[in-house]
């Protein structure tokens, strides 16, 4: 988390092999917008980090692969879905390449005048990332390696989307 090489990409959406930087996302959702009549009151964030364990396996590292242009479009789609439902500004960055245990693979920030919106949006976004963004993790564990396969990447699957809305909850 405290990697000195951390970049400062304040774009709302990013896919990069560089270490992620939470300050950059917070800047992305709070800076500018002088026309906002009501500024942010709460900022939520989510950082996904490579865990040392998965399904009983001792994980050594992960290698993330993505279909970058389509993944960025999926980010934009998720952003539009989020804006339709909650009063938030969001940022979403995902890292690709080789990640060690404890390194951040994904960061999300959501700023809103209302903390309920910021929490719900942040949770919704990570669920949707796992559902529809064309990124894959290749897990290297003690004794082997495996491609992790999760959700079928169908952005039009409304059952999945409703499930993400339900998990985001509360609203």
């Amino acid at each position: 988390m405290s990697d000195n090489r951390a970049t400062m990409d304040t774009a709302p959406y990013a896919i990069t092999t560089d270490p992620l930087n939470l300050d950059a996302l917070i800047t992305a959702v709070t800076s500018g917008s002088p026309d906002a009549t009501i500024g942010p009151g709460g900022i939520t964030s989510f950082v996904g980090v490579v865990r040392n364990e998965n399904a009983g396996r001792r994980v050594l590292r992960l290698e993330y692969e993505g279909y970058d242009p389509l993944a960025l479009r999926a980010f934009e789609r998720i952003g539009a879905e989020t804006a339709d439902r909650w009063d938030v500004r969001i940022a979403l960055h995902h890292r690709l390449g080789t990640l060690q245990i404890g390194e951040a693979s994904v960061m999300i920030a959501a700023a809103s005048p209302h903390r309920a919106d910021a929490f719900a949006a942040c949770r919704y976004i990570i669920e949707r990332v796992k559902q529809i963004v064309p990124i894959w993790k290749h897990e290297f564990f003690e004794g082997g390696d495996v491609w992790i396969e999760g959700a079928t990447a169908d952005p039009e699957d409304d059952v999945a989307r409703q499930d993400a809305i339900r998990v985001a909850g509360l609203e």
Binding site: Y67, R73, K130, E149, T152
Partner: protein, 84 residues
């Protein structure tokens, strides 16, 4: 006739099965994304694992298997995703 050629992009385990992430194949003039996928499954039997779970994108946009493909198109096959 000059056959249409499409670029096929593969990811994750699909890439391991086929041995490359990018290949080129001929496609008939009435080909769809599904035609391309079935041709590939005939060539690499292990791809059949993905018959019900595969997603497809044509020219960097999600598409349906019945979407037509034209000469020069990029057809990407996506196994179930696991980002985050």
């Amino acid at each position: 006739m000059n056959g249409n050629r499409v670029t096929i992009r593969l990811f994750a385990r699909l890439k391991d099965i086929v041995g490359t992430g990018e290949l080129s194949r001929e496609a008939s003039s009435d080909a769809t994304a599904g035609t391309v996928w079935r041709t590939l499954m005939n060539e690499f039997a292990e791809l059949r694992d993905y018959e019900t779970s595969i997603s497809v994108a044509v020219n960097e946009e999600y598409a349906r298997m019945d979407a037509p493909v034209a000469d020069g198109d990029e057809v990407a096959f996506l196994p179930p995703v696991s980002g985050g």
